[in-house]
């Protein structure tokens, strides 16, 4: 069997809160501010809805990077959601780093509904980072790779 060396195209999941970041992504879209198609967005009501299990699940199923976007601290539609999310993600990312998963694979960015540019820039940067890290081999289920 000849193995053709496939070009690495990462799978990147972006969790965006409905009120700020998802709208920010919409604004990036309507402003035609491009970023690589590797990013796929999942809409959640608030960053505090993002369970660490979702993030690990994404890695399990073959994601190479996971980014979570929410309203800026202080601007949460639900007042306090992103504060909880911030602590949860900080601890989770720290744990992933601790067990030797490259910390560039996870990221949190606060993007307001007005920040289409920031959304696009963030995604471009993040995708580039994932390209530089290459395929996620430390935190995936092998059965999903075959």
């Amino acid at each position: 069997m000849s193995i053709e060396k496939k070009e690495f195209r990462p799978k990147i999941v972006a969790f965006c809160c409905n009120w700020c970041s998802y709208a920010g992504a919409d604004l990036a879209g309507s402003s035609r501010l491009g970023y690589p198609a590797d990013v796929k967005i999942i809409r959640v009501p608030c960053s505090c809805r993002v369970n660490p299990m979702f993030i690990l699940r994404a890695f399990e199923k073959g994601a190479d990077g996971v980014i979570m976007c929410g309203c800026h601290p202080g601007d949460c539609h639900y007042s306090t959601g992103n504060y909880y999310a911030r602590r949860r993600m900080t601890l989770l990312f720290s744990m992933l780093d601790y067990i030797g998963v490259e910390n560039g694979r996870t990221r949190v960015e606060w993007v307001s509904a007005a920040e289409g540019v920031k959304f696009s820039d963030t995604m471009n940067e993040f995708v580039e980072k994932i390209y530089s890290l290459g395929e996620n081999v430390r935190l995936g289920d092998l059965r999903c790779r075959s």
Partner: protein
Amino acid sequence: MFKIAKENLAALFRMIAKNQELYLPVRTAGQVNFAAWSEDAKVDLDTLKSVKSPKDAFFPQSEGLYTVKKEGKKMKVEPENLKDQPFVVFGMKACDVKGLEVLDRVFLSDPVDTFYAARRDHGTVVALACHEPEETCFCKVFGVDAAEGAADVAAWMIEDELYWKPLTEKGDLLTETVKELLSEADEGKVEEEKEAIHRITERLPYMNLSLEGWNGDALSEKFDDPRWEELYKPCLACGTCTFVCPTCQCYDIKDYDTGRGVSRYRCWDSCMYSDFTMMAHGNNRTSQMQRFRQRFMHKLVYYPANNDGMYSCVGCGRCVEKCPAALNIVKVVKAFQNQGGEN
């Protein structure tokens, strides 16, 4: 009877592993478990008991059964291949070898478990005698001779030499492949060693445990005994006892969505778990007492009832060592002995 100097064991393992897979006790992160041999593997033949029994060589903790792949709206089923290459398990203890007999009676009787059968067909077992048995051992209770495992090859580590005695045809075959490393030996040292082991076993506290009253006919008497209500209480409902046990054979079948299809696999299950034998209506054992009772009733009553009086415990003592709540089958048996509460 053959022998080989201890310092040549690495060469022996290398030679065995040249043509087939070799599993043997390996120390990883401080613990000894059976694992595939490699040049870097830290082989540990001094530790009496591996944490997990070596039953996974024949009945792995998890193994794939088949994969269903999706092509458009059609499905394609790809069965997992059965074991078709020979392999060797080196260093099993007599109790663990006896454990295989318990598993055989389950998996090789009709309907035959083809995955297990294929592994049994292709596996050759080298048993290593228990040089220094420990206080948690009670194999003798189940008719196991710690000094000589009823395997394909029996082996003894005596001082700086390993003694090697093929007992079966498979054993002979294996011996042939490594013969150049072995030299002939007489049985004298082995007999001495066996005697020494027997002397020690006599001194061990559990070895003369009485199983009186435990048999296939004791069903309702034991099942309804009020003592279970007390005995189970410290039980944490973890699966440690079942997962270190060489005879526990229950498994669950589960599906895993790989994104491209479904991979169906089976994995060990534990009767201590609340979702053990869970069915659509719920669970037929609703309390931990019932689940706890199930384990011991199975080992000491149900299994003997179906297998000519053979118990499905081999006295390896792993559960005695590992139970987080210091419970174990010996305590259960003893509890039933003390009618008057005398120890």
